[in-house]
Symmetry: C2
Subunit: 413 residues, 2 copies
C-alpha cells in the first residue's frame, strides 16, 4: 500500500497536484508530510480502495456516518455527464486515500480543497456513484437504448407522501465514513467539483448504521430495535452474487458487477410509537426489543419460524414487519441494506427522527418493489412511519486505475 501511494504521489506530482500544493508559507508541515512514517501506517488501515471490480460502499462493512447527495445535471451534453463522472471519480480516489481533492496553498486563488479534514485520517471513507432513470430519458444524452431494464421508475406505494425536493436525482453520491467531518468534507467538495454541470438536489446526513457484516454487533435504530440481524452480510459472497451484483440476463453488460440502489427517506412518528405498549412494539416488528430474538425464540440469531403457532395464533403476527419482509414471503428474494438514522430538529412534539433506507440489489423489479408493495399494504409498522423521499439509481461497476465510474457506459479515458 505504501508503495502504491508513493507511486500515486509521484504521478500526482507529474500531473501538477504536488507542485500546486507547494511549500507552505506559514511553517506548517507540507501536506505530503502527512503521508510519511507512522501516520502513513495508521492511514493505510483506514483506507478502503476506490478501484476494484465493484464500487466501494456497497459490499463494504457499514461505516458509522453518511452523507447522501443527489445531483441534477444542468447540461444535456453527454460530454458534460462524462466529465462530471470523471471529476467525481478522480476526487473519490484521492479522498479514499485521505488526500485533498486539490491544492490547499493557493495564495491569491480560492483553495480547491476546502480544508476541513487536513490532519484527519481517511476514516474508511467510500464514495459510491449512481445514475438516475432520467439520465436515460429519450432525447437527453442519447442513452435511452442503453437503459438497463431493472432501472425502472418506482411505482407509487400505498401510504407514500413523497416530496419531490427530497426525491429523485440524476446522479447520487453515497458518502460513508467513520468520521462525520470526513463524510461532510467529501460531500462538500464533491458538490463544488460537480458544478456547474451538475447541481445538488438533496443532501442528508446520517448516523447509526445498520450492520451488514459478521464483524459488527447489530446496532439499534431510533425506535430502539436491533436493525440488520437478517441482512445479507458482506462476507456472504454467494448471496452477493445472487442478490446484489447486476448481471445477465436482465442487465446489459455495461453494468455487470454494479448494482441498483433504492433510497427511501422514512420519517418515524416517534410520539405514537413511544406511547405504544412494549407488546405492541414487539408484535409490530416480530422480534423482542431487548434481545432482538424473533418472537418465541431466545437469541438474536435464532432462525425466524414463520409457521410457529401458540394458542391457535401465529407467534409472529400476520402483519409483523419481519414476516412481510422475509424472503419466505417474497419468493426467496433478499436485499443488501445499508440504511442510516437521521435527526432533523423537531416534529409533532418529539425529535424529527427518521431512517434513510438504502438497499442494493440485482433487480428492483424482483426485490425492493414487490417487498415494499407487501409492506406498504400490510405492515403493522405503517402506523408509525411515513415514506417522504424516494429515489432509484443504477450504480456502475467499480473503476480500474486510469478509468472512472461510468466508463463502461460512456467510454473515454
Amino acid at each position: 500500500m505504501g508503495s502504491t501511494r508513493r507511486k500515486f504521489l509521484s504521478a500526482a506530482g507529474a500531473a501538477g497536484l504536488g507542485a500546486a500544493l507547494g511549500a507552505p508559507a506559514d511553517g506548517a508541515p507540507a501536506d505530503g508530510a502527512l503521508a510519511d512514517g507512522a501516520l502513513a501506517a495508521e492511514r493505510d488501515a483506514e483506507q478502503i480502495e476506490f478501484f476494484g471490480a465493484h464500487q466501494a460502499g456497497i459490499a463494504t462493512p457499514t461505516q458509522q456516518y453518511l452523507q447522501f447527495l443527489a445531483l441534477d445535471l444542468v447540461s444535456d451534453a453527454v460530454e458534460d455527464l462524462r466529465a462530471v463522472l470523471q471529476q467525481l471519480s478522480a476526487a473519490a480516489r484521492l479522498l479514499a486515500r485521505g488526500e485533498p481533492v486539490g491544492p490547499l496553498q493557493t495564495g491569491a486563488l480560492p483553495p480547491v480543497d476546502t480544508g476541513e479534514t487536513v490532519g484527519l485520517r481517511p476514516a474508511r471513507v467510500t464514495i459510491t456513484i449512481g445514475l438516475g432513470p432520467r439520465v436515460f430519458a429519450r432525447g437527453r444524452f442519447g442513452l435511452a437504448h442503453r437503459r438497463p431494464a431493472p432501472l425502472v421508475e418506482l411505482p407509487s406505494f400505498a401510504g407514500d407522501a413523497l416530496k419531490s425536493g427530497i426525491s429523485g436525482g440524476d446522479l447520487c453520491v453515497q458518502v460513508c465514513a467513520d468520521d462525520p467531518q470526513v463524510a461532510f468534507h467529501a460531500a462538500h467538495d464533491l458538490i463544488r467539483l460537480a458544478a456547474p454541470a451538475a447541481l445538488p438536489r438533496w443532501l442528508l446526513a446520517g448516523f447509526g448504521r445498520i450492520s451488514n457484516s459478521r464483524s459488527q454487533t447489530t446496532p439499534r435504530n431510533l425506535i430502539g430495535f436491533k436493525d440488520g440481524t437478517d441482512n445479507i452480510m458482506v462476507e456472504d459472497h454467494r448471496e452477493l452474487e445472487r442478490f446484489v451484483w447486476a448481471g445477465a440476463p436482465e442487465s446489459p453488460a455495461w453494468i455487470h458487477g454494479g448494482s441498483y440502489l433504492v433510497a427511501r427517506r422514512i420519517e418515524l412518528l416517534l410520539t405514537p410509537w413511544d406511547d405504544s405498549p412494549l407488546d405492541q412494539q414487539q408484535d409490530a416488528i416480530g422480534r423482542y426489543k431487548l434481545s432482538g430474538a424473533p418472537l418465541g425464540e431466545r437469541h438474536e440469531h435464532d432462525p425466524v419460524d414463520l409457521r410457529a403457532r401458540a394458542g391457535g395464533e401465529p407467534v409472529i403476527p400476520s402483519d409483523a414487519h419481519i414476516r412481510l419482509a422475509s424472503p419466505g414471503y417474497n419468493h426467496g428474494q433478499r436485499i443488501l441494506r445499508r440504511g442510516y438514522s437521521y435527526v432533523d430538529g423537531l416534529a409533532q412534539g418529539s425529535a424529527a427522527a427518521g431512517l434513510l433506507f438504502l438497499c442494493y440489489q440485482r433487480d428492483p423489479r424482483a426485490q425492493f418493489i414487490p417487498i415494499q408493495r407487501r409492506l406498504a399494504s400490510g405492515d403493522a409498522l405503517n402506523a408509525f412511519v411515513q415514506h417522504v423521499g424516494s429515489a432509484i439509481f443504477a450504480c456502475p461497476p467499480g473503476a480500474h486505475p486510469g478509468g472512472y465510474v461510468g466508463q463502461t457506459l460512456l467510454g473515454g479515458g
Copy 2:
C-alpha cells in the same frame, strides 16, 4: 403518565433502579447485568459524574456530539417548574451512568426508556440545564425578584436575522456525548419526561466540537480553520473562576458556581467563502489556515501579537476575527466556548452548514455582549456568516446527591 413517572422515579430512588426494571421475559440478559464485571470497568471510564459543585458539560472536555434542546413551560405553576427540573435531573443522573431512564420491560405498558441505547456505553454523556429569562418574568412563577442581573435579554446586533422558532426557550438542555446515538437518546427521552409541563421549542444536532482542553488537538470547523486554539481550557482553574463561574457581587447566591450560557445559531455561507482566495480567508480569520498560527507567526500556539506591523500595515488586519474577539480588545474579557458544527441539507447551492456557537461566562453584560457588538460591527467574517438563532440561559450550580439542578432557586427535595 406524569404521576406514573413520578411514582416510578421515587421508587427507583428508594429501591434502586434495577428492581424497577424487573426480569426480562425473553431470555435477554437482565438490564442490570450490563453493569456487571468487565463491562462495568469500561463504563466507569466513560462516565462523567452528574453531581458536583458545578454542572457537568461546562468545564468538561468537549465530547464529540451534541443535541441542544430548548423547551417552553406550558404551566405557570412554580411546582410544575420544580417538578420538571427534578425529573430532568433524576433522568440525567441515570443517563450519566449509562442506565435507562426507566423501565424497558413493560409488557402491556409503554416502555419508559425508549431503548435505543441498550448495550451502549455512557460515552461521557453530560446533561446541562439552564433557565431562560422568561422564567423570571413578572407574574409568571413569582421569581422576578430572584432574577440574576447578568441574565439579560440579548440586544439586537448588526446583521442579526433571527428566527423566533429557533431562538429563545424557557429551559435548555445541552446534551453532549462521544456517541451520537447516546446524545440522541438523552434528548429524546428528556423531551418525553418533561412533557406535558414543558414542550420542546427547538432541537439541533451537532458534531465537530471545538476544543477546550489541553488533552485535545484543535479540530477544524466547517470553513476549514482550527477552532478553539485560544479558548479557556478546562485545566485553567483560575480562568474558570474568573471568567466562567457565576459569583458575587453581580450574581445572587442561588447561582454561585453556575454560569450563563449564550447560544447563537450561525449559518455559514459556504459558497462565497469557498470561492474566496486563501489569502482573504486567512486575513478574515487572522490565522493561517493549515497551521493555525497567527498571521506572521509559525506555530498554532504562538502568541497573538496585535501590534505587529509589516510594510506599514498591521500583520493581523484591523477587521480580522481574532483581533476583534481578542481579550486585548475587550478589556481582558474571555469566554469558554463549546460550539459544535451542524449540517442541515442544502442552501444556496452548497451544504447548509453552520455553527451552534455556545459560550459560558460569568456575566454576559461584560463578556459575550460587548464582544459580539464589536464583531457584529466590524468582523471581516460577517460577509460569510449569518446569525439566525439566539438564546441565553442561566445555568444553576451542580446538584448534590438527593437534590436537583435548580434546587438553590426553588428549594424542595
